[in-house]
């Protein structure tokens, strides 16, 4: 005797898997809320088929009231997968839950038909089906939520990360446009990259542009000063550009001494100085 002998539900899924799947798909494909652009019909068919199949297997031996038991693991994994993809595809949580919840209609319709003559069992099974699918629906929303949070956390992390390509502006002239905050351990890596690039290219001038650094405090200043000193030892001079007026005032109040370093308000001004120093001359072509 199985633990589900009180319910007709497992038998229903076993006998009518194909019919239920067809009804369910027809419903889903005809509803107005379907987002054709987001999800291809073939994908929806495949997901529905898989869920129907794993649901059928789960109820044969698993609990009908608690979907946290091991028998339900394949169903939960499948739903987690579907939820994650939908979160990424831009579905909202309601649409994501609807996928599972829309299975209620074909199930209940079929139950009614099959259990017409057993009203007590019918009432019991309607109740079971509702609870079961509600649990699964809630589970998809939970996963969805979690997945969105992960996306947001990742985006925040990316915002915090410094992005930093070293670019060669001219023969002998490198530029490092710093964009982001300089709190993370990556700052060290970025500065080391610049030094390596100086070695590789034999550049004589490096422009460190801090236009994209929102706050210049003692830590940032120290990073800059250390890099300038190291570059100097390697025979390259640094120019720091992107010192906006408010940054200049703040640096002075902090008491940071940048007088030993050439600083410029803009990258363009720094580049002009760099060209001059490397001996390049420019004249405007007259027509």
């Amino acid at each position: 005797m199985t633990i589900n002998s009180q319910s007709y539900f497992p038998e229903l899924l076993k006998q009518y898997e194909q019919e239920l799947l067809t009804d369910w798909l027809n419903n889903q494909l005809s509803t107005a809320t379907r987002r054709t652009g987001l999800l291809k019909e073939a994908e929806l068919r495949e997901q529905s088929r898989q869920l129907m199949n794993s649901l059928r297997n789960a109820v044969q031996h698993g609990s009908l009231t608690d979907t946290n038991t091991p028998e339900w693991l394949p169903v939960r994994e499948l739903l987690a997968n579907i939820s994650n993809t939908r979160a990424q595809q831009g579905f909202n949580p309601a649409e994501t839950a609807t996928f599972v919840l829309s299975l209620k209609k074909p199930l209940l319709t079929r139950l009614r038909k099959e259990l017409e003559k057993q009203p007590d069992l019918l009432a019991e099974d309607i109740w079971t089906t509702n609870l079961l699918l509600d649990q699964l629906g809630l589970y998809t929303v939970e996963v969805y939520q979690k997945s969105r949070e992960d996306v947001i956390a990742r985006q925040q992390q990316e915002l915090l990360e410094l992005s930093t390509p070293v670019v060669q502006l001219w023969e002998n002239i490198l530029a490092l446009p710093l964009i982001g905050t300089l709190d993370s351990a990556r700052t060290q890596v970025v500065m080391e990259n610049l030094l390596q690039k100086i070695v590789d290219t034999g550049a004589s001038i490096a422009i460190i542009d801090i236009t994209g650094v929102p706050t210049v405090d003692t830590l940032v200043a120290q990073h800059l000063l250390k890099t300038v000193a190291a570059a100097r030892l390697m025979g390259a001079d640094c120019i720091i550009s992107g010192i906006r007026p408010q940054i200049a005032q703040t640096i002075v109040h902090l008491g940071v001494d940048l007088s030993a370093v050439t600083t410029k308000a803009t990258l363009a001004a720094a580049f002009a100085i760099a060209l001059q120093r490397t001996g390049a001359t420019f004249t405007r072509a007259n027509k």
Binding site: D183, S184, T215, D217, T218, A221, Q222
Partner: protein, 134 residues
Amino acid sequence: MPVQRDEVMPIRSSEDVVRVRQMVRQWAVTLGFSLVDQTKIVTAASELARNTLGYGGGGEVQLEIVQKGIRSGLRLTFIDQGPGILDIELALKDGYTTGGGLGLGLSGAKRLSNEFEIFSRPGEGTRVSITRWK
């Protein structure tokens, strides 16, 4: 001095320090601080938050909007339960550092603020409060 709005943020990681700066900037903008004043209070906050994290072993900051007559201001109070500071006068000297820094954070934060208060007892922790008026 009536307080209009306040909020507490944790300082447990360098990401938290970034978040504190962002929040202070947001509040300073809301209060209508000039760009220079925004930059000053954000930079001071960055210094104190990093001290809280690095020397105080982590802690929290309380942000408050305060009112004095018709002037409004932003007050930030950094609190930790770390080792405390033995000699406050020394810690406030330009260039004094026990952590290989520039030794300008604490004194710089003082210069960047209109009001500066520090309480610290060895073994009990440190509390630094700064206010910048609009």
